[in-house]
Symmetry: C2
Amino acid sequence: MATVYEATASAPVNIAVIKYWGKRDTKLILPTNSSLSVTLDQDHLRSTTTSRADPSFTEDRLWLNGKVDEITPGSRLATCIAEMKRLRKETVEDKDPNAPKLSTYKVHIASYNNFPTAAGLASSASGFAALVASLAQLYALPASPSTLSLIARQGSGSACRSLFGGFVAWEMGALPSGEDSLAVEIAPREHWPQMHALICVVSDDKKGTSSTSGMQRTVDTSPLLQHRIAHVVPQRMAAISDAIRARDFDTFARITMADSNQFHAVALDTEPPIFYMNDVSRAIIALIVEYNRLALAQGKGYKAAYTYDAGPNAVIYALEENIKEIAQLVTAYFPQRAGEFKDVLGLYGDAAKDINSEAKVPEGFNEAVAKRFEVGAVKGLIHTRVGDGPRRLPASESLLAPSGLPKTLA
Amino acid sequence: MATVYEATASAPVNIAVIKYWGKRDTKLILPTNSSLSVTLDQDHLRSTTTSRADPSFTEDRLWLNGKVDEITPGSRLATCIAEMKRLRKETVEDKDPNAPKLSTYKVHIASYNNFPTAAGLASSASGFAALVASLAQLYALPASPSTLSLIARQGSGSACRSLFGGFVAWEMGALPSGEDSLAVEIAPREHWPQMHALICVVSDDKKGTSSTSGMQRTVDTSPLLQHRIAHVVPQRMAAISDAIRARDFDTFARITMADSNQFHAVALDTEPPIFYMNDVSRAIIALIVEYNRLALAQGKGYKAAYTYDAGPNAVIYALEENIKEIAQLVTAYFPQRAGEFKDVLGLYGDAAKDINSEAKVPEGFNEAVAKRFEVGAVKGLIHTRVGDGPRRLPASESLLAPSGLPKTLA
């Protein structure tokens, strides 16, 4: 019986606190500024990918959530696969004549996201990270996560940050080749496991601007972006890295919110302007601003930090001890469908079936900062926390059947 | 019978196309950057003020829309009145011993806005301009509008621009005294009478941040504001002034929209962030962006320019020939209450009673750029045009009764 060359890996979602917005090289995906993210727990949100190399395969093929995803020549997908084959050849096969020539085989790749695309959570980051991680395992590469991040970056910029758990910087680099534009770990999850996140999935009426086209328009037209790149981000990268190392939530929160605001400010400074936040997003900001005002008045410092990517969803970072209070506050303004909330971290215990009954506004909170919304304005809450990097999964978790086709087709 | 020393003046609203946002001196109201506005026709929107000086008056008193408005010592109102009395003394009474000593008399002032405060149109600009204009007439001052603008500025920054008709720059000046921070005319209304405006009065759920406190927070916390002040506004002031002189609507529109966006961008870059536009404002932007895209595709250049002040209302500048098409487009997405629209410039003729029946989207317009809203989302449309500066009104228009109290009390 022939050896099966296959590997299955999972990779996490990451949510930036210093935002990546703007490329200086669109082909290599080299950013105009460094960025920094928190990796979320893949027990809750993850992409899983199985890669198999086989001499009988006639072409590279990929299925995403059970549906064929064409690998167009010259596409980002094709680039990542080609780069991984090149690494296999150079770092393994050229050095060991006995190593099987996997780089010459075609690959079949099946990938699956355990969260709905409709949730508006960037699935390209975890997706490309899982792709690269599974190929790295398949090819038995000696490469470090930072080296792999160079390749994941060429699939989707922010994917490079999903090759680490914990707190991750994507150093923009300076070389035209992109060799120094890679992800590095600022601190592992174990350094600050109290860092939790509450994701508010916000309904959206309209189709937004894709981040790929949006960020290029900003680069081309926003007079403010250049100032952000040259003068604001470098200082914030240093300050928030220090805050993470010192477990200084107060500083972490202040910078996180300022940088989310500034990213949306440069999007708005674009011609024509780009809007990702809507009235619901803005109401959540108003709640967090007031929640922090109260905490500051009580001498407790900032207790929550909102951040928004290229969409209306809010991700609220907070320490574990404050998450329930924040969830209760959000629920007071945005009632949830009964049974919708998955209480995976045991926030509510038995009451999780109807978290609306636990909705509560902290004493001293100015309730007039936002109006109360209808059920559905925030269509879901996801409670998660800082997580680890890509994982190697056992063969039993393979997404490919012995035939080399996905076990589940859409 | 004693002489009655009284004057009545009206003054227009102005809507900035290069935005004033940020003070370098909060007491003198010296701005961090120059700004530029279009004066709107006071046949439609105006403040009217009657000022009377009388030796029998025991204190300076003011009524706004028939309601007492306290003149607090040290307030902006008190400053403006004191400055006008000083000008009377220095430029008239000290030079002509026969001139009545009006500067020593107390004044009664009645002011009235013909547009509802609820409309969210900055009434402080027209209000302070009318105050200063009426006192200047009462005191028979030889002062030029630019000189008067120095005083109106100390009441409300943007009021200085309402002392001219047409297209008006407020030069920020450089002196700490503020002597060179004044309004100048770029072009009179007659230069470009085809410049019209359609104001979309947008409903707002929440109380916004006052512009006085908002702009100071931006000055204190926005890293992007300094770049705007130093590098963006000076270039835009020169370019839009040239565009006005050349009647180049295309350039005028492009800069107007970019500057509105950038003002809201620096508001968003503030800690905590300031939002003035809501989902309805954003939908109107989407309509204008698509309307211009279509016009550009047809080789016609930009045909409309939106601008938003510190509130959700849209002011759409356009040439007269395109206003009806724009009103029809807006009405297609934002149906109006029947009979609500005042067709003062004869846009619709007999059809003005129900402009919804005339709603229409231009051929080739991508209708998916915004959803259709319910009646009331845009609660009113006001069609107006570039207008003249303050007017002297006959005694018959006086707002004060012979008693020295307002004819109409609220």
